[in-house]
């Protein structure tokens, strides 16, 4: 009943032009929602993902630098340690200059979850959820769901095995089905609920959840046994905390479709 009501409201409100939306949508692509089966889940049933917008590219060094110019509280000498550990922007020469080995159009890395979240908020956006990110990233160039495409999976794994991909520039590879670039073969990306599914420093006591990540126990529960690439993403998410800053981790933002 409620769903039907929401559906009705969506149709009515969706017809009204939204002046704000144009701004939010620049350099974003619309992802049409649907159902997908995540690799892991406390409840490993189907997940419904609503329509949403996702940044076409990861946030770049240039973009983050401009942000720091306007937001001194996130500069490396100013940032509160609780929100970003010592590795935050650790290759930056000073508060507003990134390393000479970086390019402006390369993705920002060594960034904490708190910093990424604050950045997206400043843009009127938010971080995508794990489900949203996984949903958008399961699309190959030609199809929205390429989870069972072994060639596509192999491509993703090769990206994870290739060193120094964070030094590449954005937009050099082909976009996926939704027009999104560089979800794979570049950097890991923060998600809003990155540690909700598996282990984190805090959820170690939850042995059953924990066990999924270690040894073959995990593979038995996997809905897609061959989806090793997804195992690796869930492993990295499980290994980090919100104040961690890794040299191979960046982010991009998402936003709701305003109804």
């Amino acid at each position: 009943m409620i769903k039907r009501l929401i559906f009705f409201l969506t149709i009515v409100i969706g017809a009204i032009p939204e002046p704000l939306m144009a701004q939010v949508q620049s350099d974003m692509k619309k992802i049409k929602g649907g159902i997908y089966v995540p690799l892991y889940g406390l409840d490993s049933s189907n997940v419904i993902v609503d329509d949403f917008y996702l940044d076409t590219y990861p946030v770049t060094n240039d973009e983050y630098r401009n942000y720091l110019l306007k937001n001194p509280s996130w500069r490396k000498t100013e940032v509160i340690q609780l929100f970003a550990d010592q590795r935050y922007l650790n290759k930056w020469v000073n508060d507003t200059t990134f390393s000479h080995s970086f390019k402006g159009q390369s993705p920002i890395t060594s960034i904490s979850w708190f910093a990424a979240k604050a950045y997206c908020k400043s843009q009127g956006k938010r971080l995508p959820s794990v489900d949203e990110w996984e949903y958008a990233a399961m699309a190959s160039e030609n199809e929205p769901n390429a989870q069972l495409d072994s060639v596509f999976q192999q491509f993703i794994i090769e990206g994870y095995e290739t060193p120094k991909t964070s030094l590449k520039e954005i937009g050099q590879s082909s976009p996926n089905y939704w027009g999104i670039h560089d979800l794979h073969a570049m950097v890991w990306e923060w998600t809003s609920d990155f540690n909700s599914v598996l282990i984190s420093g805090e959820s170690r006591k939850d042995v059953d959840t924990d066990r999924k990540l270690f040894c073959a126990g995990g593979s038995v529960n996997a809905t897609a046994l061959m989806n090793y690439a997804a195992f690796m993403r869930y492993a990295i998410r499980g290994s980090i905390k919100a104040n961690y800053c890794m040299e191979n981790m960046g982010f991009r933002c998402a936003s709701d479709i305003i109804k």
Binding site: E161, P163, Y234, S239, I240, Y244, E247, N248
Partner: protein, 494 residues
């Protein structure tokens, strides 16, 4: 009806009797096993009670070397610092692979402890790495073998500690999902827990660990080869190697010993899939700690090393020469790289190994010459160069193929190629001489150095002429023809 019933009753009673007999047997068995187990249970609780005195940093070594023995040192707090590095390396000539390593080598650094040590383990994941890792040490008594406590993201480090309760040789490996892939990329090594007072002293100790690798391209396809998930799942290995790459234990990198020395090999198998039939050609293992545990078997030819398991093998080397270390699942040795060398120097001992004493013709029908009725079959003599090549091919297949391979390509770092070989084409008489009398010592073929052994071949002049003509007229060699007269001349020159 009553008859049937009585049969059923009788059967039932029988079953009852049998059951009670089985129950009785079980009780006896359990009691017996209890009494058997008592000493080892006691021993284990004793090792938990061992008090540590002092602290030291563990010496870690890359293969094929091992740290110094523990000797009679007391149990200590042992600090182990290990760094995880994801780095590009060479699988074989021209083939690159991104290895994931514990300490920068495959297998990872060798850790040597004694029973009762309190190991404080620091695991560091280099910031350039892309993946989280952890370590599961089979020597650990605790959940996940340490894996649950050592999960660490790139750019971070983690610390945990454990007490070594059971002596033995144990495998350690990364256990982060997907486990198979982390192991397949080289994340394994050995940790030795010596008993109190240390293992018996030997002259030479080495670290040898087998692993199987799965690459997108076939064996030998050049360039940077990514991991193939599909081949790994199918257990279809492209490379099976000792110490991480083809040729890691051959040529200049061969392990060495002197005649009369006792050699101990700490043998591990990282897998991920294949079980090793570990064998040293021309040696018999005097002692094997089966599966790296306490049980010792003596006089063993080939010992099984399970994936994720180990063995300690010991043997005294009595004669000089090159001893080839193989996985006797033998196609892995000659086609996939599971081949190493132990070079032993010293004086010959003819009473143990004579070398060749006699070259003769074997007559199954007995020593006296017997003749079949009718004309004697004429010895096969090639009438033309083409015929010589044809005969030579047959000789090649039965005599030379095993080492020099089907297309004369040889085996990297072990057996030199005949195809397009500068060494071969340079000197026909030298080639004849080698086939007749064998060859040992270092030679350079097409820029690569080989230091191996070829035995003298028991072939007639006609056969030597044919096989060499075949070789010279195959695989872009110079097309020389070798005649039986040329062979006879070389034979008589000695």
């Amino acid at each position: 009806m009553r008859f049937i019933k009585s049969i059923i009753m009788r059967k039932y009673t029988l079953i009852q009797e049998k059951l009670s007999a089985i129950v009785l047997l079980c009780v006896i068995a359990i009691m017996a096993s209890c009494s058997n187990n008592t000493p080892s249970v006691k021993e284990k609780s004793n090792s938990a009670d061992i008090v540590v005195s002092g602290e030291m940093t563990a010496e870690l070594t890359a293969p094929p070397y091992v740290p110094a023995p523990v000797g009679d040192r007391p149990a200590k707090k042992l600090l182990v610092n290990m760094e995880i590095l994801e780095q590009e390396g060479e699988m074989t000539d021209g083939v690159k692979y991104v290895y994931w390593t514990f300490g920068g080598s495959v297998p990872g650094s060798f850790i040597r402890t004694r029973v009762g040590d309190e190991v404080q383990f620091t695991l560091k994941n280099h910031p350039d790495n892309k993946l989280p890792h952890n370590i599961d040490l089979h020597a650990v008594t605790g959940p996940g073998g340490g894996a649950t406590s050592s999960f660490v993201a790139p750019g971070y480090e983690t610390k945990f500690s454990f007490k070594t309760l059971n002596p033995g040789l144990y495998v350690y490996h990364c256990a982060t999902a997907p486990v198979g892939m982390h192991i397949a990329n080289g994340m394994y090594g050995l940790i030795l827990v010596e008993p109190e007072g240390g293992l018996p002293k030997v002259d030479k100790e080495y670290y040898v660990m087998q692993g199987d690798f799965y690459t997108k391209g076939e064996n030998g396809q050049p360039g940077l080869q990514p991991f193939s998930m599909q081949k790994a799942v199918d257990e279809d290995a492209d490379y099976v190697v000792f110490n991480g790459s083809v040729g890691a234990l051959t040529g200049d990198k061969a392990i060495t010993a002197k005649v009369g020395e006792t050699v101990r090999l700490y043998v591990g198998n990282g897998g991920p899939n294949l079980v090793s039939s570990f064998h040293v050609i021309g040696e018999i293992f005097d002692r094997v700690n089966i599966e790296g545990g306490d049980a010792i078997n003596e006089n063993v030819q080939t010992t099984l090393v399970p994936a994720g398991g180990s063995a300690i093998v010991e043997f005294k080397v009595d004669v000089p020469g090159t001893f080839i270390i193989v996985d006797h699942s033998i196609f892995r040795a000659f086609n996939k790289g599971a081949l190493g060398m132990l070079k032993v120097e010293g004086d010959e001992n003819k009473s143990i190994y004579s070398g060749k004493l006699l070259e003769g013709i074997y007559h199954p029908e007995g020593g006296t010459i017997q003749e079949m009725p009718g004309d004697a079959p004429a010895p096969r003599v090639a009438a033309s160069k083409a015929e010589r090549i044809e005969f030579g091919k047959q000789v090649y297949t039965s005599t030379c193929f095993a080492c020099h391979q089907s297309e004369g390509q040889g085996v990297a770092k072990a057996f030199p190629p005949l195809a397009g070989s500068d060494y071969l084409n340079e000197d026909v008489n030298r080639a004849i001489d080698i086939v007749l009398h064998g060859k040992t010592g270092e030679i350079t073929v097409n820029g690569e150095s080989y230091n191996s052994v070829m035995t003298a071949q028991t072939l007639s002049d006609e056969e030597v002429a044919s096989v060499l003509t075949y070789v010279y007229n195959s695989w872009s060699n110079n097309g020389s023809e070798v005649t039986p007269e040329m062979v006879a001349k070389q034979r008589n020159a000695h």
